[in-house]
Amino acid sequence: MKVAYWPGCVSRGFTPELHGSMAKVAPLLDIELVELDRANCCGAGVIAEHNQELADTLNARTFALAQGVEGAELMMNICSTCQGAQGECQERLDANASYREHVNETLAGEGLTYEKGLTNKNFLWLLVEEIGLDELRGRVKRPLTDLRVGPFYGCYIVRPRHRLGIDAHNPRDHYLEMVIDALGGTVTDYAGARKCCGFPIITMNKEASLAQAGRHLGDALEAEADCLVTPCPLCHLNLDMQQPLAEGLLGRKLGMPVLHLPQLVGLALGCSPSELGLGRHIVKPTSVIDWSAAVVASAA
């Protein structure tokens, strides 16, 4: 399928391994990525906090660019924060025709118009709803047997449920568990899966921010997870990049690897850890690399 692809900012900045692994995985799932290379930052909720209309207009611009991609079935993102921040703006734009018209007047300068009703899905949603778990399972070359994976969603992709279209028929807040299972891995239950990584307040209350990240990493460790997986690169920054500082605050060693969703999918689809940029993380995913080496060795 062809999608208008919004990689977000962080996946091309501080977590380049995310954008890179998505590019590796897409062809293995027959996803054609048409990158929205003129689109702008979603504002991550911060621009909306500063000026709501500004955030709505900037995201309407991205939506309009996505709607202009010929043959694309929908827009796809790879960031929980983009999903939530863009979804919040889209809710306002779709709810009120005169507001939409007002925003479109601003976009007219660039010859763009946003038309109500865009479908914008995170890679996680696309995996389950468009590709389907059966299809995904069928493409697995190296099942994640005996790999214990803890899901970490990111707040923006699980709350508020109504806006995100989460209900009994579409349990989007359980998709990570379903995907881990379809890839042959073992889901690790721990308290932090749907909690906050603390990243939004890292510059405002560093201790509280790191305490949040540290608590969830510690809980996952106690539940004997080999690694966490997240669809959110901002969570990745606090859980992986800041993990040494969280360890300092907690006074305990954590060493919990955190994988981006496309990296976990890529491992199961047969990519090597280095192709997926696993070596680029701050916390070396030794457990995951050892696991994949063991799998390769046993297959030989």
Binding site: L58, R61, C196, G198, M204
Partner: protein, 379 residues
Amino acid sequence: MAEFQLRLRRFDPESGEAAHWEQHTVDLEEHHSVLEGILQTKARVDGSIGIRCSCRAAICGSCGVRINGEPGLACNTHLDHAREAAIAAGTDGVIVVEPMGNMPVIKDLIVDMDAVHWKKIQRVTPWLINREPVPEREYIVERESMVDVTQTMACIQCGACVSDCLSMEVDPGFIGPAALAKAYRFVGDPRDDQHFERLDDLADDPQGIYDCTHCFKCVQACPKEVNPMGQIMRLRRLAGSDHEITDPNNGRRHEEAFTSLIRGYGLLHEAELLPRSYGGDSWFGKFHPAAGKELLASLPVVIKGLLRGKVNPKTAAFGHKLPKPALDSVRAIFDKVEGKSHSKRAERYELNLYVTGYDEDEHHASEPSTTTPEQGSDK
């Protein structure tokens, strides 16, 4: 009549025993509430079960509890819905009821609202401070000016948002969602005389408006659609942009740095965001002592990131930028919406769906497509 299973968390501090679970069967109609289930158990099985309640109509806010892990009003939750949620949570349909979080338990399902919730409400001076001169009779205000605060006035002080607040979980001193929503009720009221003082106080407090981690827990928890997090964001907007209050928590600097980096690059330049949030919104921000201290603290991670190829030195130094024509369009949006400069700021336009509602032909855009996960799964 139908049978429902309730699992109640019991705790009596005077007994000296640890908290424990008790399971009871209740006999009620499906549309009856979880509260009615608890009260039936109390009447028929054990009169010592502690539950606080009064109106039984989602107005008094007394019966806040956690049902299947989610905060809410026991009187406002149907038994059949609670059972469905329990099945989804994998408890075989047993409805799990426990006291709210982030507050000490007094007994069974009753938490100490005085020790936490009401103390925090007191913290924000929850009364109107008259604008002088006080008129002889009532204040005359524009009708529209009060519509804005009706959302926060809908709060029934049940504590559901406090129960679930993730900032408070690690930082119990955080003023929290209920009290900050209450603060907006007065900051947004044209009759109040202390808008600046209130905002200055809440921005200055390290556990004030900038301690909210933006997790949407309170938005989800609220049975009255008060949207506490949205009110906190409005307080930030008013403090930073309108009253130009620079706080010691880097709140305003972070917001301004973020916004101006998007204006400058179209995309987020992460390496500049951190120093500017501490040192001020300019390229020179990184040379400010506050920024220097932070950069020094992150140095080991930065070096590791560079060595592992996580952070490309070029991206770190220069960021990534949109191509010129696209960037010009982004800047034109900023100019049109915000005004060309600080002094020529355009009027801010905000849409609150709580007030305006949805167009009649509303179709929820985030609704998933026709393929359901059931179809995609072999389960």
